[in-house]
Symmetry: C4
Subunit: 231 residues, 4 copies
């Protein structure tokens, strides 16, 4: 029988500390912002941030969704320019219920990596490899891997990040055991997030006729949208 | 073959009674409101409340979602300050189809407890412990536990709450059998609610450019949002 | 191997016919409207109707979601007064691809009945009984039952409605075979609809501060919303 | 153990190329637009497009949701006139990581075909047949089929399109292997899209009382909406 307890001293103060770090400082989980005038961020005040964090003995793991980017297209609408992602942030523990937020390690899951994670069988593993310097002259200097391995007996998973730095000759590894219940939260949150980080929720939002839009602009005929026949 | 019947005399009057109790009186299922001027509740008139209730012989069980709390952050947006929850409310029966709403017992499920419940196998159990006086001088005086145990043969679950009061020397226990169909409603509603009580729906809502916002406020460069490379 | 074909002569004209019937005439799938001035229907023009229909040899079956009803509460918000439902509408065939819409039979699934349907195993059955005259002097005169029974070999289900009229001494029965793919559509649509017909989507919608609301109305302190401790 | 890698040279430039093709040119994935003045497209600037694409050795496959069409009904609301769909677009490879977008093949999945795909067991297959000239004098000249067959060992599926042109005596075939992780993305995206392409999200959206609507227009009595009793 699974037992969860809340009799433990609260970690709420720690969570606040964490969140202050997550949403400020050097990493901001926001829309991609360029310095170009075209991408002026007018809606910073409307942005909301949310995460799900598990605190364990040797490290904490926080997951957080990131929105996709859209770009204007000629026809007047917009299309996804860059998919969003789900960011995994690991923090090492430096004492009982104390975590060093300056030593965080990041790993951004792509839609397909999210798909891998949410379809993981209870006895299955998966591993992803990222190279932060991909496509630059520094390619291969730093290698990150994220692996998810079963705890056994359908009890959850170990989520491990390894960051190998060939220049600094360092090899950092953080590991967080995730219970079946916690993984169910992650799976549900990731399944919910997946269509959103690909922009499908926005593509599937109907836009009712705007009463202020000029109604006197008839369009020329276009091919029927969902017809596959027209080639 | 499962059979559900509606030939029974209606319980609709009772449901109304219950709802009057649920949404008024000493417990209000609303946003956390402080008395600070900053948190003035301007939107009370827009708030909507919903629940799912099962009425059984010895007790009734009602589940109801509660929104998370957001707090402003320096950068101009906001982040989850306190997760929402799913409130379970138990009412003892005091006669045929009559329940004593003054003797209700509450149990608020955290996101991880919701995760535990929605991933529960048909033959599995789970149990959660809460201490209402946690972190106060009264810690340990009252202990609550919620257990969910299978009825057997994939027929649903017993949902039991026990409230042990060491000061008043009382030990109240309410138990509600939940059919497979009713549990499917709960599981579906909880799965739907989970991303919302963690604020992920709000974090994943894009905010289109507001036409009234001042467009002439270019921002300084910020790190690319979803890049994990920038440490 | 499952094979679906679109080479058959189109049924699109028939579908239009059906929809004209579904959304007009004696049955309107709309919000509950009383004649009281308080419930004036100001938003008829914004309402949208959708269904999913399967046309088979002896009958057609259409399913369609119906919104819940809210009622104002003292505190200024509103709560679900009456759950929505998912309406099943059966039409008997009167010729090849022709259906008699005047002989439709209706069956409104409650949230728990929806839960029963979406959790149905591939070899399981379920049956629901409704009495249209429940709680009136005509109780027992008409009895409806809806049964869902497996086609066998994980191939889908038979969905059957029986309407027994003890006064008119009639016993009508319509039966529609639903393929595994069609049932997957129904299951997905019903799972999506379930939180909505219970009003959970509206209860979980956050209402951002309205700029036009009077901000100078500080509230008195209220109990913390999601605390279960306060009894 | 499943391994995904990002060390490969990026395909981002190719993706951009693809998207330019997807959202412009001869095929526009938009609302159905007639040339009639009534259907003037006033909201082109608000439209957003999203897809999910997998690039493989011999071909690429992109899936993309298409909204349903609504039409006004007499009572003042609107109903689904034509279901949306999920468009599958195949592109043949013409070199390493190079695809010929001019040779794309399209296949639009109906709601029931989406249901078939999302309920596909890991060892199951399905096949759909479309005739682009259905109901015209050219019926039977071109036959398309889409088949989805398991790769084996729960490793994903082959997605194959065949276009047989009896006039041009051509038979084109494109085949894309889809990993389990990629299929999980498709399944999740399709499950999310399904209620939307049928318009259920719009039918289940409540429309709060508009403050600007004339409140002095009481309606005549109508039958109770979700009552099945009223025949």
């Amino acid at each position: 029988m699974l037992r969860l307890s809340r009799f433990l001293p609260s970690t709420s103060r720690k969570v606040s500390d964490l969140k202050d770090v997550l949403w400020s400082g050097s990493v901001t989980f926001e829309h991609a912002l360029s310095t170009s005038a075209a991408n002026v961020d007018e809606n910073a005040s409307a942005r909301k941030f949310a995460s799900y964090t598990v605190f364990k003995g040797k490290a904490a793991l926080s997951i957080s969704p990131i929105l996709p980017n859209f770009t204007k297209i000629e026809s007047g609408g917009s299309r996804v320019k860059k998919n969003g992602s789900v960011m995994l942030t690991f923090f090492p523990a430096v004492g009982q219920r104390q975590y060093d937020y300056s030593k965080k390690q990041l790993f951004a899951l792509s839609p397909t990596e999210v798909g891998s994670l949410i379809s993981l069988g209870s006895a299955e593993s998966c591993e992803f490899f990222h190279d932060p310097s991909m496509k630059s002259s520094h390619e291969g200097q730093v290698k990150k891997s994220l692996s998810i391995t079963p705890l056994g007996n359908d009890n959850g998973y170990f989520v491990n990040i390894t960051v190998l730095n060939n220049v600094q000759k360092t090899n950092e590894r953080l590991s967080v055991p995730v219970t079946k219940a916690e993984f169910a939260v992650m799976r549900t949150a990731l399944s919910y997030a997946l269509p959103h980080i690909m922009g499908w929720d926005q593509a599937l939002t109907s836009h009712p006729q705007s009463p202020t839009a000029p109604a006197s602009k008839p369009r020329v005929e276009r091919p029927h949208p969902d017809s596959e026949w027209e080639r």
